[in-house]
Symmetry: C2
Subunit: 188 residues, 2 copies
Amino acid sequence: MEEQQRARRPGGRAARVGAAVHQAVTELIAERGYGTFSVADIAARAGVADSSIYRRWGNLETLLADVTLTYLNERSPMPDTGTLAGDLRTYAAAVAREITGPEGLALLRLVVTLSNSGQQGLQAGEELRAERTRQLQSMLDRARERGETAPDALGVLDHVLAPMYIRVLFGLGPLTPEYVDGLVDRLL
Amino acid sequence: MEEQQRARRPGGRAARVGAAVHQAVTELIAERGYGTFSVADIAARAGVADSSIYRRWGNLETLLADVTLTYLNERSPMPDTGTLAGDLRTYAAAVAREITGPEGLALLRLVVTLSNSGQQGLQAGEELRAERTRQLQSMLDRARERGETAPDALGVLDHVLAPMYIRVLFGLGPLTPEYVDGLVDRLL
């Protein structure tokens, strides 16, 4: 993880600080869960000054959203299979795998928590969703450019992502491939 | 068992304790939010012994789920308008009103929290959802008995309730009547 981050953020002290802080957050989330540690805890774990974190990210919420976005982009990049059905099925399957995996519930709860933890959390959560929505929109735009009929991004949220999120949040059984593909087929 | 039977009979000491405890929980939720008070806090506020609460509800999670179910049944009873479209539109509009109201977010977060707070919370959350699902199922069964084609209860969860829940949890704008009716029409 640290090696990967170092590779992608080449060079310099700022890059080393960034990698160390991301690594510290990832470890603290794994050990304790979201909502249980402070900027001071992260700084101590990463071996940097609190002020370095505040200077770069501004606040805890923005840092958490940044780490989450990096994680999502690594684990669930938007696919480009050549057809909209293929793209959406691949994307939905990746999301299903993530949210039912060991980190998944923590991830969902972080997004819910950010949305409800004051102005900074709201803004950080909004930027995280905006970035992922922008990626999803590119996928849908590519389909339209190929001449396919595509739903809008909110349609994907409402009828593919939301049912999966709610079933996981409510503890309602596994997300089978048939169920996930069914959501995509129904939308298309 | 004897205690439960006594509790269900109107009047008498058990009924007074039940009302006082429900009232205390409602006040504590309004003042402090879910997850911030204990059985001891509730007992003190209601003027009853901790042991009365444990004897009747077993644990905090079951009590919270009981109060929530009572609240939902009072505020969003399942409608019986004579048509499935009418029933579902009325029901969806009531849910939209509840979850965007002052108590709504707290309510949604309680259900999410129950699902993720150990075995007792899981069971309490499950019983709450099971009871509301039974009520929804009766509504769908009535439609079938009238000869209408009805979706199953999970279809209503996936495509009417889940999109509304997620939009509120993610802080994504208001649930307009057009949007809510559109979810129902799309499902039917």
